[in-house]
């Protein structure tokens, strides 16, 4: 999908893509697809195989298990990568709470994408590390 300068600019303001040069941002903007979900619709489905990788462009969503909310997601947050990278079904539902617009990449394209854009992979790793630390803190 060809992308407008607005999409490139939106991507450039998201933390995940903050280290990319302008040509690389344009390449990423042309690689990601965009999808929209109405409020209350499921985006990621617990225990169903296969998942895509999503980065929120606009709107909010919750991460939940059996209706219990674990986290709230907003602009720039991403999800689906754990299911993709482990090859396992998602462990939780992600449900849109407002109109939700996401950039998305099909699961099989995620690994080559991250290898082609190592600064995105590093940003993702830092985010995962923060999440792990929070989870460990809670348990402790």
């Amino acid at each position: 999908m060809a992308a407008s300068e607005e999409t490139v600019s939106v991507l450039g303001r998201l933390a995940l893509f903050a280290d990319l040069s302008m040509p690389a941002l344009e390449s990423v903007a042309h690689t990601l697809d965009e999808v929209a979900f109405p409020p209350d619709s499921r985006v990621l489905r617990r225990d169903l195989s296969g998942a895509a990788f999503y980065v929120i462009r606009d709107g909010e969503a919750t991460v939940s298990i059996d209706g219990r909310t674990l986290a709230t997601l907003g602009r720039g947050d991403f999800f689906g990568e754990i299911a993709v990278l482990t090859g396992q079904p998602p462990g939780a539902d992600v449900v849109a709470t407002t109109l939700l617009r996401c950039f998305t990449l099909p699961g099989p394209e995620v690994e080559p994408f991250l290898i082609a854009h190592p600064t995105v992979m590093l940003r993702m790793l830092q985010d995962e590390a923060r999440r792990l630390r929070i989870a460990n803190t809670w348990q402790g």
Partner: protein, 502 residues
């Protein structure tokens, strides 16, 4: 329903249940399906004949989806639909499988002209009436929720509107100099590019189509866009069929064709020619391409007019309407999209983007579902359900998995659903997302999906007590799913549901 005017044009302005806008394949299929369901409707089109974009595109005349004139099944049979990805659907034998009738068999993909003739024949034989030369100009919603479409002929009031208006408006990103450069839609006859250096901005369908078409004429063809060509995924897409010749020539170093990954900074005019100034993406560094002609092949948008003011949400820089699984606008109830514009329904995003909703083979099934949905939602006409003999349940599902054109073409998007309230009932087809997300009685949905290893495999989704579980069946290399092994596996998966139903 309003009748035919004295001049012979059907559907004069007035009140209708549904108004369908367009006369391309999406509009013709939707109108046909609404008519068969007996839903009051009008069909209006700015064009003067059926066919939509196939009256003028693709520019180099060749489609990308196959139709096999010879197949193991009669052209009038449902099984033939899997061999014919261009014909519209009809109940009448003389309106079914029409595209092969017009093909000269130079290729197994029809030409634009052959497709156009088949669509005209469909409109005639399936008796799809359209008010031609009637241009939709603006839209408003009344206090009672009704939609009013203003046209050059007058106003149409309706409960629901279906816009089958294609993705047909040329779209260019805002890059300095692009405003003076022709779009794909303005490409001149190929002879006029003889001996010239042509730069093509864009490496998707339309970019490759133009590049391939100009290879026999131009002195040099240079394609540029930021994203690299992913040959491994394109190998599985229909655009591979004809358009990858420029990439092949560049990759083999044959001369005269270049396929570059570059972000375009601007296009300058220099001494009557062009200079494309760009930055490499896959291989960083400045690039400067001199060209006698530049063509911008960055795609199209849906001509939505004022629909965003009524709440129609979009994706992809405002180019595509964002839709629910039943093709209703997210944000504007009662406004539906059919045809190529139905691609904005996300579906279950698993290994691939589900379904073929942006081409005729996929959206012909979407149109049938859409007409049923409109009948249910706006006219209180529930879907027809039929009972299934418990003894034939497994065979029905095996048949579906092995042969169903709906499941095989709208792969991962549509599912055949059988419910188990008061015995097995055939619920027909529904979007898979709807089945896995909606509450409902105990049921099974049969689907066909792409597996992570790129094989095509059947999947059963079982809903029991409100919980949905997924059962992937092993793919068969010949897609032969009517064997004892698969029968036993289905019996095992369905055992609990069948016991409850019995």
């Amino acid at each position: 329903m309003a009748g035919v005017e004295g001049g012979g044009q059907p559907f004069p302005p007035g009140d209708y249940g549904v108004v369908v806008v367009g006369s391309g394949p999406g509009a013709l299929q939707t109108a046909y399906c609404l008519d068969r369901l007996g839903i009051d409707h009008a069909v209006i089109s700015a064009d003067d004949a059926p066919g939509g974009m196939f009256a003028r595109m693709p520019i180099f005349e060749r489609l990308i989806s196959p139709t096999k004139p010879s197949a193991p099944f009669e052209r009038t049979s449902r099984d033939y639909e899997r061999y014919d990805h261009n014909s519209l659907l009809a109940e009448e034998e003389d309106a079914r499988g029409l595209v092969p009738e017009f093909m000269d068999r130079s290729f197994d993909v029809p030409s634009r002209a052959e497709m156009h003739m088949a669509l005209q024949a469909f409109a005639e034989r399936a008796r799809v009436r359209v008010r031609y030369g009637c241009r939709w100009e603006s839209t408003r919603r009344e206090d009672d929720g009704a939609l009013v479409l203003a046209t050059g002929d007058g106003e149409y009031r309706c409960r629901a509107a279906v816009f089958a208006i294609g993705v047909t408006e040329p779209w260019k990103p805002k890059v300095p100099g692009f405003e003076d450069v022709p779009h794909y839609a303005e490409t001149r006859p190929p002879r006029e590019y003889e001996g010239r250096r042509v730069a093509i901005i864009g490496k998707r369908n339309s970019g490759f189509e133009i590049a391939n078409g100009l290879l026999p004429w131009a002195r040099e063809v240079v394609m540029l866009s930021p994203r690299p060509v992913n040959t491994s995924s394109i190998a599985l897409l229909p655009i591979r069929t004809r358009y990858l010749q420029p990439f092949d020539e560049y990759a083999r170093g044959l001369g005269g064709a270049y396929v570059l990954d570059a972000a375009i900074e601007r296009v300058d005019r220099v001494d009557g020619a062009f200079r494309v100034v760009a930055q490499g993406t896959t291989k960083p560094g400045p690039l400067s391409i001199e060209a006698d002609d530049v063509i911008i092949a960055t795609g199209f948008r849906t001509p939505l007019l004022d629909l965003p003011e009524l709440g129609v949400e979009t994706v992809s820089d405002g180019r595509i309407p964002a839709l629910t699984p039943f093709f209703e606008s997210i944000g504007a109830p009662g406004i539906y999209f059919a045809g190529n514009a139905s691609g904005g329904a996300a579906g279950l995003l698993k290994v691939e983007r589900a379904g073929q909703s942006t081409s005729v083979n996929g959206f012909r099934y979407n149109a049938r579902l859409l007409a049923q949905r409109i009948a249910e939602r706006h006219f209180d006409r529930p879907r027809e359900r039929s009972t299934i003999e418990p003894a034939s349940l497994i065979q029905v599902l095996l048949d579906e998995l092995a042969h169903s054109p709906e499941l095989w073409v709208q792969r991962g998007y549509l599912a055949r659903v059988i419910s188990f309230e008061d015995g097995p009932h055939d619920e027909g087809y529904e979007p898979l997302t709807n089945f896995v997300d909606a509450t409902g009685p105990d049921a099974v949905a049969a689907a066909v999906e792409l597996a992570p290893d790129a094989s095509i495999a059947p999947v059963l989704y079982v809903r029991r007590g409100g919980n949905v579980t997924e059962h992937q069946l092993a793919p068969h290399p010949l897609h032969a799913y009517e064997t004892d092994d698969y029968r036993a596996e289905l019996e095992h998966v369905l055992a609990a549901l069948v016991r409850v139903a019995a």
